[in-house]
Symmetry: C2
Subunit: 199 residues, 2 copies
């Protein structure tokens, strides 16, 4: 466990992973959404794209063994294992300060968009844009009419996903600071989460 790194509650972290390495993301306390991004190391303008992944797989999200695709239609991260029920979201934008304003906040609120930038900044990098994130452990049920719900996670403490990097990548993670909607559990208490880069 020496390699396990903390994504502090309400914060962002980033790390490099080489092609072939595994990336484990752990829902340590069981109710924390982790917004996740992957950028190609050689050119950050290539990144994991939810809309390109849906189009290539013709599915809302990959099943175990399938890749996420980049905006240049290349496999960038393959979903290798998932100990959770597999409920992850590809539909919702990263939260941002504008979002919390609409939810009634009158002062700055931590948010995943800024956490992406802060995580990359620690590595000396700047995101070229804010791609629509892979919202790990986030439960957004849809219905036949297209209705969507911000619901509580269906995960348990210690649930994890394991990816294999298909390219040299920069990964970024945000322990989502949403404490108004129940997306991080009915207690609305964001927690830390963890990740590990494995050979």
């Amino acid at each position: 466990m020496s390699g396990l790194r903390t994504i502090p509650a309400r914060s962002g972290k980033a790390a490099f992973a080489r092609k072939g390495q595994k990336v484990k993301v752990v829902n340590t306390y069981g109710e924390q959404v982790v917004d996740t991004w992957a950028f190609a190391r050689h050119d950050l303008r290539e990144f994991m794209s939810m809309e390109h992944t849906r189009a290539t797989l013709t599915r809302m999200r990959p099943e175990v063994g399938e890749p996420f695709y980049s905006n240049r239609r290349r496999p960038i991260l393959t979903l290798v294992e998932d100990s959770s029920p597999g409920v992850h979201d590809t539909l919702m934008a990263a939260c941002d300060n504008y979002r919390y304003g609409l939810l009634g906040c009158t002062e700055y609120h931590d948010n995943c968009t800024d956490n992406l930038a802060a995580g990359l900044y620690e590595l000396g990098l700047t995101p070229p844009e804010t791609p629509s994130p892979l919202n790990l452990f986030m439960n957004i049920p849809w219905d036949a009419e297209g209705g969507l719900v911000f619901a509580a996670p269906v995960t348990k403490p210690g649930d994890y996903v394991l990816f294999e990097a298909n390219l040299n990548v920069v990964m970024a993670f945000s322990a989502c600071p949403q404490d108004i909607l129940p997306i991080n559990g009915e207690g609305r208490a964001p927690t830390e989460a963890h990740f590990e880069i494995l050979d």
Copy 2:
């Protein structure tokens, strides 16, 4: 009808619309998908965002009377009228040359991503990125398990949507050149479409 402008088959066009003006997009021959974008005129980095719209409305797509939101969470285009059955897609990326390569093309294929750039270029502008488009008239049914299908349109000749601009915007349209999948009809024959800016 003097103001009706052509989006040539397989091509892109762009135009300015002031706040309060209406933008009509016509499916002239009834089976043509029109990838549609809107950028804020004062700063192209603000644009109509499918992932922010879904999150704000908690619905896959707006109903008549509701807005699409920008990536800064502001209403940017309101859906005012829709003569079609209301089947439009917000899930799929714009096609690109990489996509056609995966579909077996060995030479360059016209595509909506390049059509966005070409349309804006005619106005002296460059898109800051390729936002996930509003795919007007595109029929992507989803199922309870998350399966998605590239299906033929359910529209008829002359069906149109009418938007009101909530900001001064630059609109861009691509008459999607997809001729391999049946997204532009079982005949796989992309056609021109039309648009009009109305006071």
